[in-house]
């Protein structure tokens, strides 16, 4: 019974993956490129940064980086909280 269930879930998952792979667009040809073109054109004049990735990460999506920094802070706080010395 569980073997048939495993086999059925395997074929279901594989079918979904193949169904998704059939519809994939060719490499380097995204359906919507307006955002990419905007970053390529305006990251140098607007942010004055040659590294467009840093311009996106710290300027256009700085809020996201703030969240990442919060994740790191939470992880360090958790480690410091759990591994603190209790007595002595």
């Amino acid at each position: 019974m569980s073997r048939w269930l495993a086999l059925a879930s395997f074929f279901l998952g594989a079918g979904l993956l193949i169904f998704g792979a059939v519809g994939v667009r060719p490499f380097g040809d995204p359906p919507r490129a307006e955002m990419d073109a905007y970053f390529n054109r305006y990251s140098q004049p607007e942010v004055a940064a040659n590294n467009a990735v840093t311009a996106i990460v710290f300027d256009y999506r700085g809020y996201d980086t703030l969240g990442e920094a919060t994740v790191l802070f939470t992880a360090v706080s958790g480690v410091a909280l759990i591994l603190r010395r209790l007595r002595k």
């Binding site: 140098q44 004055a48 040659n50 990735v53 840093t54 300027d59 790191l72 802070f73």
Partner: protein
């Protein structure tokens, strides 16, 4: 650890710290940035912990965790700097003064004095990641040493 590991650590620690500082400093020009450079420098700290033992660095726990908090506060403060327009607006870019040079459009080698708040944010995040990862490695190593004997 053996004298081989200690000697190699003495050679590699300044290299990794300088390279981490370089990656953070040129974050707005070359691949890399605060997170990556901080991780490179933190690998030097991890090397010290492995080679010389965590108990030698046990007194620096407070320094590392306060540096981590300071980096986070500096990053958020630089985000609030642009609050006149929006949160995280880059008010220093292209305005002259500190990191205020503008960049011509197209491929060019770039200038360190550009990109407004981005280099400052890179330094804040770099110190945050360096201190955070260093503190995590140090705390785990101290925990292991206390449980060995």
């Amino acid at each position: 650890m053996t004298v081989v590991v200690r000697t190699i650590t003495r050679i590699l620690l300044p290299i990794s710290l300088v390279f981490g500082g370089y990656v953070i400093m040129h974050g707005h020009l070359t691949p890399g940035g605060g997170f990556q450079g901080g991780a490179v420098a933190a690998s030097g700290l991890a090397m010290v912990v492995v080679a010389f033992g965590a108990s030698r660095l046990a007194g620096r726990k407070g320094l590392l965790s306060s540096l981590e908090s300071l980096g986070g506060v500096a990053f958020a403060a630089l985000g609030f700097l642009g609050l006149g327009l929006t949160f995280f607006a880059n008010v220093l870019a292209g305005a002259g003064g500190l990191f205020g040079n503008s960049v011509p459009y197209g491929p060019n080698p770039g200038d360190l004095n550009t990109a407004g708040t981005l280099p400052l944010m890179n330094w804040a995040v770099g110190f945050k990641v360096l201190a955070g990862l260093g503190a995590v490695v140090l705390l785990f190593a101290l925990f292991g040493e206390n449980h060995d004997r």
